[in-house]
């Protein structure tokens, strides 16, 4: 059994899912941090669901939604797109599962930005878009980075939802976690041992990179 394909696929899926979540999670977090509405708590709960629902339940929802006969899947089919049993399907699953991690971290970071600094930027003539890119986003970047690393780690280890939507196709959709499960099921102890060691080393390397990135990321003084 090859180690490289599952490892590289897992990394590719986790990188794509994290990139997607950086856009989605940060946009939603910023919107929610400015939104004053009684509906906010409800929306917040719904967005947190992927964190508490069993991944298999999420995977099932995705199948219902994106499958050939699904609500959204039928529409995608017309464009010749079918994410079920593809690596893109694994990206969708990982994105969904890791979304709350980045959204919550980014929202806390945006809410921690001193509103006076944003007021100061407005009075100095900056349009709202510039206030976001020049003040809010850089000041929240530390929290967002921390959330992104957590989301990356979560996406890298995703199993349940991925198995449901992308399946277990060796050489096509078999990620590291799924390959370990398959190896154990097949009684391939040697293969499982190698894969487990590779997965562990990968996680340690990710953590080391995270530790190196985090403290120097921001020049914001701790006062």
């Amino acid at each position: 059994m090859g180690i490289w394909f599952p490892l590289l696929l897992s990394l590719k899926v986790a990188i794509c899912a994290t990139a997607l979540n950086l856009l989605l999670g940060v946009a939603v977090a910023f919107g929610l941090s400015r939104w004053r509405s009684p509906l906010r708590d409800l929306v917040d709960s719904l967005l947190t669901l992927p964190l508490v629902l069993p991944p298999t339940v999420l995977g099932y929802y995705l199948l219902v939604l994106l499958g050939r006969r699904g609500v959204f899947g039928a529409w995608l089919e017309r464009w010749g797109i079918n994410p079920v049993f593809t690596w893109e399907g694994a990206v969708i699953a990982s994105t969904l599962v890791a979304f709350p991690l980045i959204q919550k971290a980014a929202r806390a970071a945006f809410e921690n930005v001193d509103p006076q600094l944003e007021s100061a930027a407005r009075v100095l003539g900056l349009p709202e878009r510039a206030v976001f890119f020049r003040v809010s986003l850089p000041l929240a970047s530390k929290g967002i980075t921390a959330g992104a690393l957590l989301a990356f780690a979560r996406a890298l280890g995703e199993f349940g939802a991925t198995l449901m939507i992308a399946g277990n196709l060796p050489g096509r959709t078999q990620t590291l976690s799924v390959a370990i499960y398959a190896a154990v099921q097949a009684g391939d102890d040697r293969g499982a041992n190698i894969l487990v060691v590779v997965a562990s080393i990968t996680c340690v390397v990710v953590l080391l990179i995270a530790g190196r990135l985090a403290p120097n990321r921001s020049r914001v003084p701790v006062s």
């Binding site: 006076q116 009075v123 000041l139 003084p221």
Partner: protein, 228 residues
Amino acid sequence: MTVEISFRRLLADTERRFALDVAFRSTSRRVVLYGPSGAGKSMTLRAIAGLLTPDEGRIVVNQHVLFDSALGVNRAPQVRKVGYLFQDYALFPHLTVAQNVSFGMRTGILNPRRSSMPEAAARWIDAFELGAVATHYPSQISGGQKQRVALARALAAEPDILLLDEPFSALDPPLRARMRSELAALQSRLDLQMLIITHDPADVKALGEHVLEIRDGRIFSDSMAAGG
């Protein structure tokens, strides 16, 4: 230079109700709004800057109508050309002194570069003797320097009026006296109207030309300082 203000705003939460009803007009170069904390001084400044919307009234600075409920005018803070010195200076902690000073000179989505600085910003840096700390971050400079950076940043945007919120309260008492005279000297060099809010009688004495006393959200007394 004229500032003409007359507005009402009711602020209510579960704790208290506070009615702000402020009206004054001044052509003085140094207007001091004096009163205890909680009298509505900061809210008055915020209303002039467009950070707080009055329920009704009219705010005019140098013949520019910034707010007029009768005419339906409420200009955005971005276009009011108001300089604002915040109480704790509100310097951007992720930007250097030079970047802070040139912050308002461009309104695009990118911050000023760390390596180069527009010529106009360099002039302000020199005028406020900040050359030695131009590449420092706000956390690395003294209180007096922070205030100069905040002043330079506000003035570099070429405002029509400068609003100062308790400009000396964040400083040590010995530094306070020095910064007061620095500000008075700056005032005489610049042709710019200043509206200063303070609870400190010493500020009134040192800087007040037109002194308005505010209590419980209303102008309580209005007087011109001797020789002002």
